[in-house]
Every structure is written in structure tokens, then in C-alpha cells.
Subunit: 151 residues, 2 copies
DNA sequence: TTGAATTAGTTGCATAACTAACTATATGTC
DNA sequence: GACATATAGTTAGTTATGCAACTAATTCAA
């Protein structure tokens, strides 16, 4: 009966190895070709800071689906690049607020444009409806795996 | 007009950070809970060898969407675990054929069952039609990014 | 108010990814 | 046959991931 839904391992290997990393690799390549020396992982952090600056590392982890240790090291590298700084929170001394520097500003429009270009290359001939379904399925997969089991 | 198709970065962050890694993490966790000491990356190589044994590293790279260097080290680690061996090809001395050992045999059914279980957890309440659309979109994204541009 | 439990962040360890440079073998062409 | 080119695999260097153990600060509760 499981085989009614998917051939063994097939969907898994599709999900894990193919389209998603192809998109990531293309975006990384487009960054490099444009002379940008940041990784897509670093970009994903900057992306959330451009939406809302001065987030805690914890909050950045939640928004980018990473654990604390990964965020610690991503912020280390972004600090080395001079794109963010850690500022101690005044209300909770455990917390670092991650703040964009002036050096990060010029990257915003450039990386948005490259991300859009990459999405256009990736989503050529794919309809809005299909994209909505994919996004919706992904959200539900994520919810299936992260919400507590109520059964 | 790009915003007609997707909100900036939104689909990207969905694809890159969320559902796919949640599935991978869950499968890894299910392996660990079952006492299996292999990574999902190692499993993805074994998976293809169970379908067809004695593949070259090159061919394994193609089938698992990895580059040569990644395959070299995955095979290194699988050899250390005693699950595969490298056998020099008799017809082309550049080629290593990667061969399953007897130690890998008992893992096949067990990991298939765990992968199926993981897929059931992930795909709860997601219809066959939606799964087909996701698979189809992924294939077309991959094709968009890997086939030569004919425009 | 003191002691337990929780939360934020860091560090060590192992695995894995990509790029680029490298060796060795094979192939194709003059 | 000899040289250029292509292919298979390895290695070095950098970045990233997950887990577990750890410190420091905060909160909760008796």
C-alpha cells in the first residue's frame, strides 16, 4: 500500500539530491559570476536581516531552519566579512542581536536581482498553480515532521 | 512581474531550508533510533547499489547528483564501515567498481522500511496527485538548470 | 532567597559539500 | 607512433551541517 503513494526511495532521492541542490548551486554560481564572495547560506541569513534587522541568533535559527551551532558559525563568518556585528542585548545579557553593517547595504538589491534571475531560470515553464502546490506541500511536510503528534 | 510568480526569496527559502532538510533529518533520526550507524548520504549510495551493483564512482555520482570528490569520500567512509569495496575494472584501469559486501545485505530491507516509514510520516494527508506534481516540478526544475540553453 | 530548570550561545568532533589542482589512464588525430 | 585532449579518481582547502557537552544568564518555585 505504501507503493500506491510512491516508489520506494524515489521521492526521497528526488527531494534530497536533485532539484533543490541544483537551484542552490545555480544561485551560488550566479553570485560568483557577479563577483559576490558570499555563500548562499550566508545570503539566507542576510535575507532575513534585510526583512528585519537586529534579530537574536536564536530567532535567525528559527527563521532559517538552522540549529544554534550552525548560526553561531555563520555569524562568525559574516562578522569576518564585515557584513554583520553582534551587539549584546540590553534587556537580556544572554542574547546577541545580529545587526547589519553599512557594508551589507549594497548587497541587498544585487542579491535580490540575482535570486530573482535564478528563480526565473529554475521555474521556466512552471505555472503559478504548480508553484503554489509545491510550496503548500512543503509547508505541510514540514508541519507533519515538526508539530507534535496528536494521534 | 517576477512578483507575480513568487514573493522574493520566499520559494527559495522554502526549498532550501525547510521541508527537504526536515525529511532528511527525520530519516537520519529514524536510522539512529533503529541503531543504524549510517548517514543518509551513505544510504543514498547504498540505495543505488542495491538497485544495481558494481557501479563506477562516476556513475554513482551521476545517479546521486554528486560530484566526483564527494563520491570519493563517501566511498572512503563506506569502505571503512566495511559495507562496500573498490574493485579495479578489468577493462579500464582508470575505473573503480564499487561493490557491496555481505555486511551491507542485512541493511537493505531495514533501511527500505525506515525510508517508507519516514515517507509516511512526511506525506501524511498529502494526495497522490500533489506528490506527482511535486515530483514533476522538481524534474523540470532540474532539467531547466542542467540542460543546455537552446534560446 | 536559594536551588532547579530553562534558555542563549559557544566549542569540539565527525561527516559532507564544492572548487581547483593534481595523477594516471584512454582515446583520437595527424 | 606521438602528441593533444578527455575521462576517472584523489587530494587540499574552505564552508557548512548535526549532535553533544559546556558556560553563563534568566526564570520559576518552594
Amino acid at each position: 500500500m505504501s507503493n500506491n503513494q510512491f516508489k520506494r526511495g524515489e521521492l526521497y532521492s528526488v527531494i534530497n539530491g536533485m532539484a533543490t541542490t541544483a537551484v542552490a548551486r545555480r544561485l551560488q554560481k550566479n553570485f560568483r559570476n557577479a563577483g559576490l564572495e558570499i555563500t548562499i547560506e550566508q545570503w539566507s541569513v542576510l535575507y532575513h536581516l534585510w526583512k528585519e534587522d537586529e534579530l537574536s541568533q536564536q530567532e535567525l535559527g528559527t527563521r532559517t531552519f538552522r540549529d544554534k551551532a550552525s548560526i553561531t558559525r555563520l555569524i562568525d563568518n559574516l562578522e569576518k566579512l564585515g557584513l554583520v556585528i553582534r551587539v549584546a542585548s540590553k534587556t537580556d545579557r544572554r542574547v546577541n542581536l545580529v545587526c547589519l553593517t553599512d557594508a551589507a547595504k549594497p548587497l541587498q538589491q544585487m542579491t535580490y536581482d540575482l535570486a530573482n534571475q535564478t528563480m526565473h531560470e529554475s521555474l521556466k515553464n512552471i505555472s503559478k498553480e504548480e508553484i503554489e502546490i509545491v510550496k503548500n506541500v512543503f509547508q505541510r511536510v514540514y508541519d507533519n515532521l515538526t508539530s507534535p503528534d496528536l494521534s
